[in-house]
Subunit: 202 residues, 2 copies
Amino acid sequence: MKLYDTTLAPNARRVRMFLAEKNMQVESIEINLLKGDNLTEEFRRRNPFAKVPVLELDTGEILSESVAICRYLEEIQPEPALLGTTALEKAQIEMWQRRAEFSFLMPTGMAFQHCTGFFKDRMTPNKEWGEECKKSAFGFLKLLNQHLSDFTYLAGDNFSIADITMLTTLDFGRTVDIRLNEKHEHIQRWYDLVSQRPSAKA
Amino acid sequence: MKLYDTTLAPNARRVRMFLAEKNMQVESIEINLLKGDNLTEEFRRRNPFAKVPVLELDTGEILSESVAICRYLEEIQPEPALLGTTALEKAQIEMWQRRAEFSFLMPTGMAFQHCTGFFKDRMTPNKEWGEECKKSAFGFLKLLNQHLSDFTYLAGDNFSIADITMLTTLDFGRTVDIRLNEKHEHIQRWYDLVSQRPSAKA
């Protein structure tokens, strides 16, 4: 398997961290987003949506979308389970994964795009919208902090893909000053726990 | 099981259509978003994120996020499979599901919120951003049309949750004039096929 990867993007790090938790190695090819390596005709043949990461299987099949790649990896190597084992646990992980994605990863990513102008050669930044996104990211942190006063990990007792999404986004959020503060003591406890995992170096 | 449902929202219709495909019935409780039924303290005890739909299990466990609810339903009643059977198929469905969500459902939903001002009592609409979202929804339709020139359904040969996401969003898109036109012949062929399924009445 070959992974078309990009060092700085939180979505790509999600997959690297997932691979590290599974202790799986794949060949990696770096795609430089700033140089537009993802916008070439060759890359679009692999992924018409021009997004990274992309996993190319030995059969030639192509998978894009970080969580679709992770689901494939979980299927071919179920242990340790990062997407749950029982029906309820799978659903709870999916629930927290999606809350973290739609209410934190998305607004943080949009705050980055719209506030920094990093991709202004290929999109129209809307600063006001970027600032709104920052506010809603902090709204999520408030709710998550309450939740983590009762639970070890996002989805309960076990570390899961939802924690990977949250950790990688929180680390990336620094680029737009989305950071934990003294009000987020329970998230801070969780952060100290998960950021010590060897996979967090991915 | 009890489903806290709301007739007009595409996310809620996704779950109803999923249930119909599985031929499962659940007790349904209507939540009126316009009246703010989802913003009450009672509702927030079930879902602090104040989003609909919510599934309450007979054990009292609560699941929110449409796809988390669908994953639970798929686990307790695997047939007919709507999330795939083999590792590759599961990953391909997840890939198309996420493409449809992040590149079509999200921008269509944001176009609705920011262009119509429907929820202006609880958010700040940004018309420019709404118009950008509309453009990016049409960008997705262009890529999807190419894809559907080669495949029967979004994820290949089998109807899946990705088709449910796409159909419900496309129907909802009319509210902000996101509609198929003469350039989308392959999506139109797919639309005619899937909208005839009995579950599409959900």
